[in-house]
């Protein structure tokens, strides 16, 4: 079954009018498709244009060329009112809602659905309660926003977007400034909302580890290569992530799903180890100390390191050999060289 994209655009140019006749094009010729029921992560370096793209897709900023289409209809033909029921946003803007309760903030998400004075019907109130429930903050309904932690506050803003009942939710760095627990909670929450509530969720983030774990689809945005999109694993295995940060000192390790500094190894050692975790950290240690690791036991390097366990390491060099009892001793041995 081929699904239709909820947001689509072909040959889209994004950027700003810089006053006068000046136009700053951040990206040209972008082709975009965002699908319902999926969590999509927008990754890219600072200044790659992530926020500009999100603003253009949410209609907060006009495109320079090409149309953004929502369910096939050009964004600029959609009324302000309908748009507010279609796209919900979560931003990093400074707010002044410390004196509102959690429930009141989530209820603000009902504004596109309520009348002139914003009176909530029993249906609206039910949606608010359901949204609080879905974001796991139902017990905090009467708390003041000012009394919440950053992670809880972000959940409230997500609940607000959920209460807006928009099929599309765009989030600008929702996990910035959060600790690892909150980051994982927020990402899992968003993934659950995408699948269970069949929303199209797009978020920009610098948290690549979590994005690779939970994102159904990636959008990689870089100044040099433009936008590359695809299912997360396709992009990882095709090496696209290496091009995201075109920097000679950084490379992507597809095995561990993370970026590492490229080590310029002058020396190398042969490592013999049967435990994968142990092997990973030994390589980490060697790399940091300027050694490359080789696994070739047929034509071994002058130095051979046998790892039995983290407290039993055999160091072989030419004819001498030594038994080391910790990584501490291994480091010292390497530094002696």
């Amino acid at each position: 079954m081929k699904r239709a994209a909820v947001i689509s655009a072909r040959h889209l140019d994004i950027g700003y009018h810089t006053g006068g006749d000046g136009i700053k094009r951040v990206h040209t010729d972008l082709n975009i498709a965002l699908y319902a029921g999926e969590l999509t992560c927008l990754l890219g370096a600072n200044g790659a244009g992530k926020s500009t793209l999100l603003r253009t897709l949410s209609g907060a900023q006009p495109s320079l060329a090409g149309d953004v289409c929502i369910n096939g209809k050009p964004l600029k033909d959609i009324s302000r009112h309908i748009l507010s029921q279609t796209i919900g946003v979560v931003l990093t803007d400074k707010t002044a809602i410390g004196g509102l309760t959690v429930r009141e903030v989530v209820a603000l998400g009902r504004q596109p659905h309520t009348g002139f004075f914003g009176i909530l019907t029993s249906h609206d109130k039910q949606v608010v309660e359901d949204s609080l429930e879905a974001c796991g903050i139902a017990d905090k309904g009467t708390r003041y926003m000012a009394s919440l932690s950053d992670g809880e506050r972000q959940k409230v803003m997500i609940a607000k977007a959920l209460a807006q009942e928009c099929p599309i939710v765009l989030l600008d760095e929702p996990t910035a400034f959060l600790d690892i627990v909150s980051r994982i909670e927020i990402m899992s929450l968003l993934h659950r909302i995408a699948t269970e509530h069949n929303r199209a969720i797009l978020l920009s983030t610098h948290d690549i580890e979590q994005a690779l774990v939970l994102s159904d689809r990636l959008w990689l945005l870089s100044r040099e290569k433009g936008l590359t999109t695809g299912v997360t694993e396709d992009l990882i295995l095709s090496g696209c992530l290496n091009n995201l940060f075109p920097h000679s000192d950084i490379h992507f390790d597809p095995l561990h799903g993370s970026y590492y500094p490229t080590v310029h190894r002058h020396k190398s050692a042969t490592v013999v180890c049967h435990d994968e975790t142990l092997l990973h950290w030994v390589i980490n240690l060697l790399n940091r100390n300027g050694y490359g690791a080789s696994f070739d036991t047929v034509t071994p390097c002058p130095i051979i390191i046998h790892i039995e366990s983290h407290c039993h390491i055999l160091w072989q060099e030419k004819d001498t050999s030594a038994t080391l009892h910790s990584f501490e001793e291994l480091v010292r041995k390497i530094q002696e060289k």
């Binding site: 907060a60 400074k94 596109p112 309904g141």
Partner: protein, 347 residues
């Protein structure tokens, strides 16, 4: 259910404030620069014959309009302050801080000092010219600040710009004073001290209509005002027409500040401090309840100030602006000192 209790708390608070306003309003009728025995005040109000005809005249022609003016001026300035604080997302915004009443004062100064002698008299055309001048002056300053607010994101910087605009307007007023005649300067100086007795019984309907219009616009904007607590981009995403809302807020604030300033002179501290008193009492920044509470608090504070401005025992009245800071300044200092503890202050 906590939520139910919260609703009833705000309802009770509004009810209590309504009763307090009514009591203070009546009390205002019993005090004034002329000592009138309480039973004579009651006689005058109920249409019974008074011991002195002049007392009846004072009650009907002076104290009633003054009490109504204090009530409306308090409501207007407090609500104007709240609108400004929400619009600029700045707890220290207020008509006097941002130079809006100085703008109104400049408008009045132009009319009174440069406009010729016909304005200084209490003729009805001069009266309308004064109001129009104040309105245009206030709107002009508001527009300048709103213009700067579109690209000066820093709140503190915006406040400083507001103060600078205020100084610039003040210097223009000084210049006008310098070239004006002694009579004009005297009339203007008296006006500038703030005076709630400036509205006569004939002018009162006009003043009431103007300020009630401003208050009505404010109440109609409570939904977008709540959305704007989230910031303009969130509000826009919730379907709020930002430019329309801002223009309406500009109109309402201008109307409320300008008419009050034109009639009563620039009254300081009500617009800045009363919204804070209201938030502290209500413990919420939800405009659905904060707007009425702010309005009532404004009325109560100004009615109270008006009573305090009558020096007990003597026959003098001190300018209202000598009294309002006594209530206003401590509130602002309290809010700033306790900003960590006060919920609404933290984003």
């Amino acid at each position: 259910m906590n939520k139910k209790r919260n609703i009833s708390y705000s309802t009770i608070l509004i009810l209590v404030l309504c009763i307090l306003t009514a009591i203070l309003w009546v009390c205002n009728l019993f005090v004034g620069s002329v000592d009138i025995p309480a039973e004579e005040v009651v006689n005058a109000l109920t249409g019974q014959p008074c011991a002195k005809e002049s007392w009846r005249y004072i009650i009907i022609e002076s104290r009633i309009p003054q009490a109504i003016t204090a009530l409306l001026a308090g409501c207007s300035l407090a609500v104007a302050g709240l609108l400004l604080q929400t619009t600029f997302n700045n707890p220290l915004a207020g008509p006097s801080i941002l130079g809006i009443d100085t703008g109104a004062a400049l408008g009045v100064a132009i009319v009174m000092l440069a406009g010729g002698s016909w304005v200084v008299g209490s003729g009805i055309s001069g009266f309308f010219a004064t109001i129009l001048g104040a309105f245009l002056g206030a709107i002009a300053v508001l527009a300048v600040i709103l213009f700067f607010s579109t690209f000066v994101r820093n709140n503190l910087m915006l406040l400083i710009i507001g103060m600078m605009v205020g100084y610039l307007t003040s210097s223009l007023i000084s210049l006008l004073n310098f070239f004006a005649s002694a009579n004009q300067v005297h009339a203007y100086t008296m006006w500038g001290m703030g005076n709630l007795s400036g509205v006569s019984l004939e002018q009162l309907p006009w003043y009431s209509i103007a300020s009630l219009c401003g208050l009505l616009i404010a109440f109609m904007l409570s939904k977008p005002l709540n959305a704007m607590l989230l910031g303009t981009r969130y509000a826009e995403n919730l379907g709020v027409n930002i430019s329309l809302t801002r223009n309406l807020l500009l109109l309402a604030t201008g109307l409320l500040t300008a008419t009050t300033t034109a009639f009563c002179g620039p009254i300081t501290f009500i617009g800045l401090s009363v919204p804070h008193i209201a938030r502290l009492l209500l413990r919420s920044s939800n405009h659905n309840t904060l707007l009425p509470v702010t309005m009532l608090c404004g009325a109560i504070v100004l009615l109270l100030c008006n009573m305090l401005s009558v020096i007990p025992g003597s026959n003098g009245i001190i300018p209202i602006n000598a009294v309002t800071p006594l209530i206003g300044a401590p509130v602002i200092i309290y809010v700033i000192v306790n900003q960590k503890k006060i919920n609404y202050f933290n984003g």
